[in-house]
Symmetry: C2
Amino acid sequence: MVGVTVRIGELAAEAGVSVRALRYYEEQGLITAGRSDSGQRHYRSPAIERVKLIQMLYEAGLSSKTIVELLPCVEAQVNTPESRARLAAERARIDEQIAGLTRTRDRLDAVIELSENPASGCVKI
Amino acid sequence: MVGVTVRIGELAAEAGVSVRALRYYEEQGLITAGRSDSGQRHYRSPAIERVKLIQMLYEAGLSSKTIVELLPCVEAQVNTPESRARLAAERARIDEQIAGLTRTRDRLDAVIELSENPASGCVKI
DNA sequence: CTTGCCTCTGACGTCAACGTCAGGTTCTAG
DNA sequence: CTAGAACCTGACGTTGACGTCAGAGGCAAG
């Protein structure tokens, strides 16, 4: 049994990314693909989860390079002192990012509050 | 009284950005500067707060174009239905961004938990 | 007056994550 | 069998927020 495989177009559609993006991910070492005799890529089902995870990390502001270093920890359960430190560092970075965004949001909230309810005087910015 | 003004290098140092960045901000219409007879930029003290605000919004993922549209609302208290909608939209975007980051962080937390305490079996990713 | 740092205006360079196009092969529906 | 969709490998284009360099002028100290 060879297992169910899909071609790049189908995976792209299912994962919600472009075909070009998948080829780029492969180029960066983020995903791998089997090849048919004629050279066409074919993916097994876990690929879609992996692609979605990659997207998640991209959206959190991680670079390809960082993701490449983290993926073995996340997927293959690599567990060394270095990998744990790497994970903790990125977790901390994301936490800081959330904190900054929260401050920015609160700042906007204050402005919105004022524009909807211009009661008190002007705020010094 | 002409007021205390600083040159671009000093403002850059105080605001924690590069001189090039300040010139870029001006080019984008985010800040304005007075000029000396010889053409050198000079800034008044509120400039530093404005620059810090701009940095805050950049870090929240807003583009120059968006910031240009929002700044009048935040600083000059512009208050039209459009400006309120603009503020609300960006606020919502930031909220979504926070939510996504939180999910990513929780995902990393689960991985970290497992790597520090490899008790239960493997997680399917 | 001159030395050395600061500033000016262009204008080209950078980097990441793809988009897009060219030119050719392969697969599939009819 | 054939048309058209999907795939392949290069390789160049794009965008935003600056970095960097060149060449020229400005300003305070000694």
